[in-house]
């Protein structure tokens, strides 16, 4: 057990990050029980990791087992890291303070490509060999899951196992296997783990390359290792294990409220969106279930805000009914209900007014593109009319602060398309002024935010080149000049981080050495502007003789073997190709709730019915 002295805690920022002992944290008697020890690591600082719902769900799932003890671990801030290294304190689980190298499993959730160096740093701080190929019998098994695991290849020699898909059942299968097979050697255990559906063991596959550096072949080394790894999904989503309490953070975290996961999957088919593709099919929880969960969580936490979480929340088949019941049940207790950013075409003022009965929050819309042509290319589908109606309704009901999110650098985009963002924002401002003074709230504030598009694997745009930095710079500049009104505030992201994101999102095994080299030369907290060092990364690329442009800026051909092709997400490659071709022709694909678009999910996942649990009126 690590002892962190008071003197160290006095010296660091936000010492409550490192002490554990929060309300609802799980305490198990380790001295009298032989638990499977699982360290669930979020590769960022406490305030970010404690906001992550997936970690909370899996913490609950693992701790519900009587034979397993799951603890939380977060990346120490550099000031604490220095104290730890100076004082020989290894990275520890918050609950027991035991060092990570004493655990059986060390798991990382891959939420963001720029968190990879933190993963390496956390392994190093635990004195666990960073490379999977160098770990011995006594080292923990390192397992990684989460959205970025859908292209695991850049971390192929970091993780021993990748868990693809939804973890609730998969991890239980792995723990069951471990309990039975504790006597096996590390290699033998990993070989057995590869037979669990959804588990990918990179050391059991070999990749060869062509002269032009594209992939020549990707083959399993043995017959009992699956050629394709199929993602895991939870078919009975309504009854799947969900926490009845959340660990209450000591300090303020990014998202400090109860989160209710209402459904998984999405039917809109936006072509840039990986989540919309990989979380299919749509599965809903019933309103009764959600109400039951909300009551338990309010009682056990004392939070005053309930957030409904999902993709495209307004598509939940009984959204009005659900919101109405949650609000009326909780209005006396002053628990407010909030929704994440809303699709403009399903925005309903009635809905919004309902949730604002307790407390008014800001309004966010994501048109994503400035021109109708571009919105059709990316299949976002919302029209200017939709936006006009929505903002007018919002202004008439007393909102005066609106946030609008867009992306720059989308495939087939021109500078004119980007400049249209300014026109859209201008239209929103004009709608405000049309509303009579007595009805509207004073002080119009429109914030326009643009992010640089990063093509993601398992999407119709996975073959697209990222827009280069000069082109992006000139588009941002044109947009800035086009925005006239003082009520409109423009926030843009211009950093080279997007370039690196594009590389790692669609990278292959050769990037692993680059990540290790960058970490060895000091890279950490790359998602934080105060620590991100682009030059260090460029040096790492040249040291390893790897060209980043190859991954970010190259337009790939449909015939190319992509590093993530071996993963079956249920949506077929043919569908992705057809969607990309439709994008080029500016043809929209409709919402598949209305008409099946044949993405392939119900063929490959026969046990998962589309819209399981949903009730249509």
């Amino acid at each position: 057990m690590n002892k962190i002295s008071d003197d160290i805690l006095y010296r660091v920022e936000k010492p409550s990050r490192y002490i554990g002992g929060e309300l609802n944290s799980c305490i198990k008697d380790i001295s009298n029980n032989d638990y499977i020890r699982f360290a669930f690591c979020f590769p960022d600082v406490y305030e970010v990791g404690m906001s992550h719902l997936g970690s909370k769900i899996l913490y609950h799932v693992l701790n519900s087992r009587e034979d397993t003890y799951c603890e939380r671990v977060f990346a120490p801030w550099p000031d604490m890291e220095k104290e730890m290294r100076d004082n020989n304190i290894l990275l520890y689980g918050l609950e027991s303070k035991d060092s990570l190298n004493q655990f059986d499993f060390v798991g990382f959730t891959l939420q963001y490509e720029m968190s990879y160096t933190n993963i390496l740093n956390m392994l190093d701080l635990s004195k666990i060999p960073v490379r999977a190929s160098q770990r011995g019998e006594d080292d923990p098994i390192v397992i990684c899951g989460g959205p970025c695991a859908y292209n695991p290849e850049p971390l192929y020699d970091i993780a021993d196992i990748f868990a693809l898909g939804e973890g609730e059942e998969e991890l239980n299968d792995l723990m069951d296997l471990y309990k039975e097979m504790k006597h096996l050697t590390r290699k033998e255990f990993l070989r057995k783990a590869a037979t669990i559906e959804g588990m990918y063991v990179p050391s059991l596959y070999e990749v060869t390359y062509n002269e032009d550096n594209t992939i020549k072949s990707f083959e399993p080394l043995y017959d009992d290792v699956p050629k394709k790894v199929k993602k895991r999904i939870i078919t009975n989503f309504n009854d799947v294990s969900y926490p009845d309490k959340f660990v209450m953070p000591h300090s303020e975290i990014v998202h400090d409220r109860i989160m209710l996961e209402t459904f998984r999957g999405c039917t809109r088919g936006c072509r840039f969106c990986q989540a919309g593709m990989v979380y299919r099919p749509v599965r809903e929880k019933t309103p009764e279930k959600l109400k039951e969960l909300s009551r338990e969580l309010i009682k056990s936490t004392g939070y005053d805000e309930l957030s409904l979480t999902s993709l495209s929340i307004c598509d939940y088949s009984q959204i009005e009914n659900l919101v109405h019941s949650l609000v009326s049940e909780n209005v006396e207790k002053k628990v407010s209900v909030s929704l994440p950013s809303l699709r403009i075409d399903s925005f309903s003022v009635e809905l919004i007014k309902e949730i604002q009965k307790v407390r008014k929050t800001g309004l966010t819309f994501a048109p994503e593109a400035g021109s109708q042509r571009m919105r059709d290319v990316i299949n976002k589908g919302v029209t200017e009319e939709n936006l006009r109606d929505s903002v007018r309704a919002a202004f008439e009901s007393g909102w005066s602060t609106i946030k609008l999110y867009f992306m720059i650098g989308l495939p087939y985009e021109t500078e004119e398309d980007v400049v249209k963002i300014a026109e859209l924002a201008q239209m929103v401002a004009e709608e405000y002024y049309k509303v009579p003074k007595e009805l509207r709230k004073k002080g119009l504030k429109i914030t326009v935010s643009t992010a640089i598009f990063v093509p993601k694997p398992h999407t119709p745009f996975q073959w697209a080149p990222q827009d280069n930095m000069d082109s992006v710079k000139s588009k941002i500049s044109a947009l800035r000049n086009a925005i006239k009104s003082r009520a409109i505030n423009y926030n843009w992201h211009e950093t080279p981080v997007s370039y690196l994101e594009a590389i790692f999102a669609r990278g292959d095994r050769r990037l692993c050495d680059v990540i290790i080299r960058a970490f060895e030369t000091g890279a950490k907290f790359d998602g934080w502007s105060e620590y991100f060092n682009f030059e260090n990364w460029m040096n790492a690329f040249s040291y390893c003789n790897v060209d980043g442009d190859f991954y970010a800026f190259r337009e790939r051909s449909y015939e190319e073997i992509l590093p993530w092709d071996f993963i079956d997400i249920g949506v077929s490659k043919e569908y992705m190709i057809s969607e990309n071709e439709k994008a080029k022709a500016v043809v929209v694909t409709g919402d598949c709730r209305k008409n099946c678009t044949n993405c392939g999910i119900n063929k490959s996942f026969k046990e998962g019915k589309c819209f399981e649990g949903a009730v249509f009126s």
């Binding site: 002992g21 300090s251 939070y303 207790k333």
Partner: protein, 221 residues
């Protein structure tokens, strides 16, 4: 618990109160908040066994019930030790406990690096007529004589540590922060360890009743 900040403590207490389901009074307006206030903020790292909280309820509840329900729903490190029900007097303005605060007592431990001269240095400090310390504030730094704000100081050396029992002026009228005093002492007593941080614990808060300082729970009315 000493590692969480004052604002985080307030938030934690608000959540404890929500879990108790007390009939708490809320403020009016767009963003209603609970009518709970806790005393004078302590720096991160300072403990307390004698702090006060004012809570307004909409309906009656016995002192014992309040104490037990709160503690049942509380967490490690936060416990109610005593409750005083204050009757609402018609047309009189409610007095917050913090507005009436006059003094606070503390126990402090400071590590000693060299034993030989410690007592000599402390006695020399106690003999000084003025204790001039730099008080930092939003409007700039000021040199202040803090000796008159120290109402009582007792010390002893125990196992390489200097232990102090202090009674200091506290509150909106006249206030000496314990941090400022311990920084001053560290300066005046070089034998104290420079790298180590003083351990501070606030033990009680007081009101002036006539000439005497009495613990707030006894003196409040």
């Amino acid at each position: 618990m000493k590692w969480i900040s004052y604002l985080d403590l307030l938030r934690t207490i608000q959540r404890i109160v929500r879990r108790t389901d007390f009939d708490i009074k809320y403020s009016e307006g767009f963003n209603p908040h609970m009518s709970i206030s806790i005393g004078q903020p302590l720096s991160v790292g300072v403990e307390s066994t004698g702090d006060y909280m004012d809570v307004e309820l909409k309906s009656e509840i016995s002192e014992n019930e309040f104490k037990s329900r709160f503690n049942e729903n509380s967490q490690i490190g936060i416990k109610i030790v005593d409750v005083l029900k204050v009757k609402e007097v018609k047309d009189a303005k409610k007095k917050s406990s913090m507005a009436m605060l006059d003094g606070a007592s503390y126990e402090v431990s400071m590590k000693i690096s060299q034993n030989e001269k410690v007592i000599e240095e402390i006695e020399a400090m106690l003999l000084k007529e003025k204790w001039e310390a730099l008080k930092k504030s939003k409007n700039g730094d000021k040199v202040v004589d803090i000796k008159p704000l120290v109402l009582d100081l007792k010390y002893e050396i125990l196992e390489e540590e200097l232990k102090l029992s202090l009674l200091l002026k506290a509150g909106s009228r006249s206030n000496l922060s314990c941090d400022l005093l311990t920084s001053f002492i560290k300066e005046q007593v070089p034998s104290l360890s420079a790298d180590s941080f003083p351990r501070i614990k606030r033990t009680e808060m007081f009101l002036l009743k006539g000439e005497k300082l009495l613990p707030m729970i006894k003196a409040y009315n």
